[in-house]
Subunit: 580 residues, 2 copies
């Protein structure tokens, strides 16, 4: 991918000002630097620097997928809806799946993920156990009709994604391959210059299946909340992280119904009765999305309900109680005892297990109980983990109170899918004994554009991105200051031709602009190795080589510069090679 | 792109039988060989061999576009319709443009071509004359809702296309760049193994603009009719080819109205009046699509009307006269004299110029005129070229009667667009004098999948494709016959590893199947260099090297084989390098 480019010929402008619609760093720099241009809500065109980054990331991914025996294929962007009706997702996925009709009035969808398409490709193609295992992948445009696109390439509607699908005869084989893919992902992120990306356990969501990991770049602008242990390796998405709490060893007390006129919130009650939120049992109320039946979760007053856990337990979606349904609940005073529900589900979080002497609602307006001891009052209760982990909660892995909550961007994910798609879409193979079996699937995604933006979030200063050399749009940026002077033009041109012949990727700024404009633009282009040629350097017989991240600066004799730059690039690339 | 693949691990099956839905060679072989699988009407998934061909063609195109200073960008697949409303094409293009609404009820389209998107990208980005000229291109998925997809990858709805767009300050500069691109296209087709692709003048159709060429592969299964001179370089699409005829030098005769009871067709009249079709003047009747007003074209009786020429002359669409409109025409007996049209347009083809003594309709049921001499009877007539060229018509270039009509597949096209899009979408630059100007555009397309299929049409035998080495899915195919024998496995494995280390792309067939099955599959994979390792060759200390096209076959000592194969590949690749 050696292309030499003069900045004066390159399509795209660079801007000093931050565009009004940009909130986050990568979005700001990628617009200001002329990497991309907005076309519509969550839809961008990529200019040469932006596309070059994307292509380099794609190549890293391709190499790593080939290393684990992936076979590259290409599935359709627009598909007949029949495939999605077979799997059932045509009905179960909301309006982020873009549905339309073609000229023949046939239902179609735009692919947002390709489990259906890959099963269509592989069924009747891999009919013998001898064809297994195999993995196919593609790098392709996808469309997801996001309700809220945001942050430039962080959350878009049209995007380039690498999606891979593996097929196995046994769960053990899937698990083994899953580990290989996990490892390949670590290599990909390391090679792309963000080795700090971590894998966290995650919810498998709409994909079906059980075991899943997300690869997260920790950053404040992340949309996902992560649970990380500061003492051990435990890492999890908030959605699935177990919450372990300690209870203060309160003594039992007698149950007593007390008048709490108008005090509805935990804070008001705690204040009025002089207890801490930990000494209360609160009710959090939802509705089942389909039936509108209430779901009440009782939980210790200081904790929050993790709705994903509740949904996974119920195996159906819940929504906030909008108050439009007659549930029979006495809002503000709901408690476990004498709860007079017409219909609905009552759940207890395990934070209440072994607690004593709590305050809870009495299911009468303006009344609460004191002295509530769940297991004494309610008999046998099923306690389930429904709470969100919090800063300082107990690590499920090492047992220390060193959980911290942080934020991350999901740059990749891997799922053990099981047989959800092969069963619904009737993909079978004949096993050794002649019996028909459903293959077991895994799937593995990386958002290419989001990864590019995430690297920018992780690698920048106040003036622009600092691209890792493996994915930088070019490796070397020549700034020819006063290129109108014969001696500068001569040295710069010679350097540019020499580097080209050595296979180095160069962006060459030969414009007649001030050094200030030139350096500001170079900062926005974020190219790791900068070479400055100026009347001053030329008079000393040198050029100046400096790293964009300011970690290195040295003069090089004009004659030695090309070889030196080539070696520097090789060294920098080597630093990004994963040690695994 | 070195990937070593064992055929036993590769996803995809090969079939002996021709699938029922396949009519043309490339479609048959690409389905039978496991290159692709049909997903829906005009929509295919590509398996590894198919995708590898596509990627290789893409790389050839990319290199040639970069050679003429192209900058690769990426425009959206799904776009807001606003852009297409600006250019007017949202309204002027039929249902092949797929329109839909997103979740926010916004009108969207799937890109079938990207003039609008590229003008959106470039406007406000190239605002100074100093930014010009430039060319940007992309290689991307497009969707065109074809009414009749057919022939596998020849005419699909979803396809990969290279589309390029150049922007210029002057028409002269566009024309100069257009020539460069024409030349780049010749190089691309030569490198892809089909140097016989010819450029023909073409109609610019819905793209706007004037000068246009199509690059055509001559083949009987082509959808386009081409006009080619056997004596000189003249080549044109039928749609725009001038038709030049000679008239027999008949003497004038007196005009006479004759009774021709029930004789309506040219054949019937000629028979009844003992004249040849050349001695008649026939009326061909159309309706304007918008107004339903009739359009009558008078033309020599032996010629056919070229509807594209009529439409270009009228600057509006015409349709066949369906007989539902009261035009006042006496069908079967329409002629130029005493034609009593209520409304409508009368046109004369230039084949009638200088003719004498013709038979034509008399605009009365059952009557024709004899002795019709157009210029004598009608006074001054505007004769225009509306006829289709035909086998043996006169070449507009060399003047010989050596025109032949043939068929071709369009594998690429280039257009001089002019300012149609920059004007409608208000893209301007500031010229040297500070005045605002519209840049002048060219556009340049290649259908990647269609090119792959076209190569297969041009390069195959009865057993399968014969891929040119530049685009073959792999360069070498090792057939290990009786791989269960230790000595065969050893030699084959060593060869495979050795070739891999030399950067050769190998497909390795180590299956335990008969030589017959193996060779039939190898024929379907069409890989140009085949190496056979068998107990017999090994016992003689050799392997057999044979070309898929049967032009070469030789034994090579086992130790020498890898180096020899590497050299053969280099030689074969060199043969495809264009000499231009």
């Amino acid at each position: 991918m050696v292309v030499i480019m003069k900045i004066s010929n390159m399509l795209g402008q660079r801007y000093k000002e931050t565009p009004a619609e940009c909130r986050i760093t990568s979005h700001i720099f990628m617009i200001r630097g002329g990497y991309m241009k907005r076309v519509g809500e969550g839809i961008y065109s990529l200019l040469p620097p932006g596309l070059r980054i994307i292509k380099k990331i794609e190549n890293i991914i391709r190499e790593e997928m080939n290393r684990i025996d992936g076979q590259e294929v290409l599935l359709p962007v627009a598909m007949p809806a029949t495939l999605w009706k077979e799997s059932g997702r045509y009905y179960s996925i909301g309006s982020e799946l873009l549905r339309f009709k073609d000229r023949g009035d046939v239902d179609m969808v735009l692919g947002m993920t390709h489990e259906e398409a890959v099963v269509h490709l592989a069924r009747h193609t891999a009919e013998s156990y001898m064809n297994y295992p195999f993995m196919v992948y593609q790098i392709q445009t996808k469309f997801r009709d996001e309700p809220r696109s945001r942050g430039g390439l962080i959350r878009v509607r049209e995007f380039t994604m690498k999606d891979a699908y593996s097929f196995h005869l046994t769960q053990e084989d899937l698990e083994e391959y899953y580990q290989k893919c996990y490892h390949a992902y670590e290599r990909i992120f390391a090679r792309a210059g963000v080795p700090e990306v971590i894998a966290v356990k995650s919810d498998s969501g709409m994909m079906g299946g059980k075991v899943a990991h997300e690869f997260m770049l920790i950053t404040d602008i992340g949309e996902d909340r992560l649970v990380v242990c500061d003492s051990c390796d435990f890492r999890s998405n908030m959605e699935v992280a177990e919450c372990i709490t300690e209870n203060s060893s309160a003594e039992d007390a007698d149950l007593e119904c007390v008048h709490t006129p108008g005090f509805k919130t935990i804070d008001e009650i705690c204040n009025f009765l002089s207890v801490t939120p930990e000494q209360t049992c609160k009710a959090v109320i939802y509705l089942k999305k389909k039936s509108y039946e209430p779901v009440i979760v009782f939980i210790r007053g200081d904790l929050e309900v993790n709705e994903t856990k509740v949904q996974n337990y119920l195996r159906e979606e819940i929504i906030e109680d909008d108050g439009t349904t007659d549930t029979g609940i006495v809002y503000g005073f709901a408690g476990p005892m004498e709860l007079n529900l017409k219909k609905g589900t009552v759940l207890f979080d395990k934070s209440l297990k072994g607690t004593h002497n709590l305050v809870c609602g009495a299911n009468k307006v303006d009344y609460h109980y004191k002295g509530f001891t769940p297991e004494r009052e309610m008999g046998e209760i099923e306690f389930v983990d429904f709470a969100k982990a919090y800063n300082g909660s107990i690590c499920p892995c090492c047992g220390k109170k060193t959980i911290s909550i942080t934020r991350g961007i999901e740059v990749g994910n891997i799922f053990q899918l099981g047989t959800k798609y092969t069963e619904t879409m009737d993909m079978q193979y004949i096993d050794k004994n002649g019996a028909l079996q459903y293959p077991i699937m895994g799937c593995y995604g990386i958002g290419v554009g989001r990864l590019a933006a995430s690297v920018c979030e992780a690698r920048h200063d106040e003036n622009g991105p600092i691209w890792p050399i493996s994915i930088a749009p070019w490796q070397v940026h020549i700034c020819a200051i006063r290129a109108d002077k014969e001696e500068v033009a001569q040295v710069s041109d010679a350097l540019y031709n020499d580097l080209m012949s050595k296979g180095v990727e160069v962006l060459y700024d030969d414009r007649k602009v001030s050094a200030g404009v030139m350096f500001a633009d170079a900062d926005l282009m974020g190219i790791p190795v900068r070479v400055v040629v100026s009347p001053k350097t030329v008079s000393r017989g040198v050029v100046e080589i400096a790293f964009r991240d300011k970690s290195y600066k040295a003069d090089a004799a004009i004659a030695d510069a090309p070889e030196m730059i080539k070696n520097i690039i090789a060294d920098e690339l080597k630093k990004l090679e994963p040690q695994l």
